[in-house]
């Protein structure tokens, strides 16, 4: 189905099994520290899930991975985010270029007010795609498991779809720019269980070609889809008042849910939290 995937070539590199590396990352909004001290190595071609209570900074860290935080005023990052051998926060790095290689899907489905076809074609076109657009649209929609539902109405508005279909359209839109990494910020939180199931099945297919990082509030979902899990927690600051998020534990999903090394992780995954 996908004869030439640029991202496939990366998975063949045995030397770099890690797609992204975070080194002592701390993120603040204005003077407010949101998360600190995150070390993490996100493996290539796997699904990595971020779990944790609200306000622990998991979405913040996710958005730091493709510099979406740049859009939030006063948001600053300390530490290093290494992708493809480069620090994403190096002053010479172009954030637009970063986002072309690291796509993002948001919590709320946000199709553009355009036709289904144009929703997919838009990203590819602005990224200088010069090929068979019809073929790319079909391939992207197929990968997002929404081709059968949309093939007869490609000219209709993206808003005409149901919430779950819109979210898969947004995933197809992110796939169409052929990124290496797809970030998903609670992609199923606004969807019903059936749509959620479809997206989870799709993620199993997608991880063959892409590295996926997903934030989820649903621990069963993390178990079902992810290979690695990072548990974020909120802790009181040692040096004064207020709370700050931190990465409590980062390990294979099985370990996190069956034999976590931290007591807080054990409490959270078994529902004895707070």
């Amino acid at each position: 189905m996908t004869p030439s995937m640029p991202s496939l070539s990366h998975t063949e590199h045995p030397s770099s099994q890690f797609c992204m590396e975070l080194e002592n990352v701390g993120i603040s909004y204005g003077g407010n520290e949101a998360v600190r001290g995150v070390y993490m190595q996100i493996p290539r071609g796997k699904v990595t899930a971020f779990i944790g209570p609200s306000g622990c900074g998991k979405s913040t860290v996710l958005r730091a991975l493709n510099r979406m935080n740049d859009l939030i005023e006063g948001c600053t990052l300390k530490g290093r985010v290494i992708f493809d051998g480069q620090d994403l926060y190096d002053p010479q790095v172009d954030a637009v270029e970063v986002r072309r290689r690291i796509g993002m899907v948001f919590q709320k489905p946000n199709p553009f007010p355009k036709s289904i076809y144009e929703n997919i074609a838009f990203g590819a076109r602005i990224n200088g795609f010069r090929g068979d657009m019809d073929e790319l649209v079909e391939r992207s929609l197929r990968k997002a498991a929404i081709w059968d539902e949309t093939k007869d109405k490609l000219k209709e508005s993206g808003y005409a779809l149901s919430g779950g279909q819109q979210q898969r359209l947004c995933i197809a839109r992110a796939i169409a720019i052929e990124p290496e990494v797809i970030l998903m910020d609670e992609p199923c939180s606004a969807l019903d269980p059936i749509s959620t199931l479809k997206i989870e099945e799709m993620m199993h297919e997608l991880k063959k070609s892409y590295t996926i990082v997903i934030v989820t509030h649903n621990m069963q979902q993390a178990v079902r889809v992810s290979d690695m899990t990072g548990f974020f927690n909120v802790t009181a600051k040692a040096d004064g008042d207020g709370k700050v998020g931190c990465l409590e534990e980062f390990a294979p999903t099985e370990t996190i849910f069956n034999a976590p090394s931290q007591q807080a992780t054990q409490d959270y995954v078994s529902g004895r939290f707070g």
Partner: protein, 301 residues
């Protein structure tokens, strides 16, 4: 706990639930409803009176010659207001060509680029003040800036000067509606575009602006409608001319100034033309407002 509940219910147990108009609260209620209805009627009354009166005085003169002929010389009969209609269209067009790019551009800056810094606050405040500046001040300003200095090829009064004066009047409306319309575009749409590698420029031109097109267009049409009816800024910028428009850099006739001039002339024919022009102008502005409403129907909720 249980006993108090029972006593409270029993206090009202015997009373009927039927509506009693004679109760003081119900009387006051009807009284204030009636007052509010009366005042809202009074509020729309001027609109209908103006429309009816203008139609009564000027409607009978409506004919093709009114729309196509020049006004008569003082003392003569007949004629039309063709030059003023054309002049209003030209002056408004000049104003739109200046105010729309500047206003939409300014609105885009405020909503998309500024991030609410002191400069944006200053521009927003300035825009609000400008929208409250009396229109005659705009006229005097352009008179001092352009007409008396004869910057345009040594010409003093001109269609261009009139258009610029109207553009100053239109600017705040256009900036404000663009700013507000862009603010209504969901943030998620911008994220969606930026999240797949669109630059800020592409996001604005291809996603945000099209999504906000309808409210912006509505605001622009309302701004044009307001400017087209202005008299004060045109009296000493575009002046008036009894002839057909002679280019952008000569005095030009406009509907509002024609009404101002002809209504106070001691000639029957001119007075009648002023009424007819009032009618045509009101209809034009009404049509522009209806167009704005029609555009507004396309607004996505």
């Amino acid at each position: 706990m249980a006993s108090t509940t029972t006593t409270t219910t029993s206090a009202f147990a015997g009373t009927s639930l039927r509506f009693k108009p004679s109760l003081p609260r119900n009387r006051w209620n009807s009284f204030f409803s009636a007052i509010a209805a009366l005042f809202s009627l009074i509020a729309v009354l001027p609109l209908f009176l103006v429309l009816a009166y203008v139609l009564f005085k000027g409607g009978s003169l409506i004919s093709t010659s009114l729309l196509t002929q020049l006004p008569p010389a003082p003392g003569l009969e007949g004629g039309g207001i063709g030059n003023a209609i054309l002049g209003t269209v030209i002056v408004t067009l000049v104003a739109s060509l200046i105010a729309i790019p500047v206003g939409v551009g300014g609105g885009i800056y405020l909503a998309e680029y500024s991030r609410g810094g002191w400069f944006a606050q200053f521009v927003r405040f300035g825009t609000n003040v400008l929208s409250g500046v009396p229109s005659i001040i705009c006229g005097v300003f352009i008179y001092g800036l352009i007409v008396s200095t004869r910057v345009f090829f040594g010409q003093s009064y001109s269609a261009m000067a009139g258009g610029i004066a109207l553009a100053v009047l239109m600017l705040p409306t256009v900036i404000k509606t663009t700013d507000e319309a862009l603010k209504l575009v969901p943030q998620e749409l911008r994220w969606g575009a930026i999240g797949i590698g669109a630059s800020r420029f592409v996001t604005i031109t291809r996603i945000t602006l099209p999504a906000a097109f309808t409210p912006i267009a509505t605001g622009v049409v309302l701004g044009i409608a307001r400017a087209a009816g202005e008299t004060a800024p045109l009296i000493f910028t575009a002046l008036f001319s009894p002839f057909w428009p002679e280019g952008l850099f000569n005095p030009i006739a406009t509907m509002s100034v024609l009404i101002f001039n002809f209504a106070i002339m001691p000639y029957e024919a001119q007075n009648a033309l002023a009424w007819a022009a009032s009618f045509v102008l009101v209809v034009m502005i009404l049509a522009a407002n209806l167009l704005a409403r029609w555009l507004g129907r396309f607004a996505r909720v």
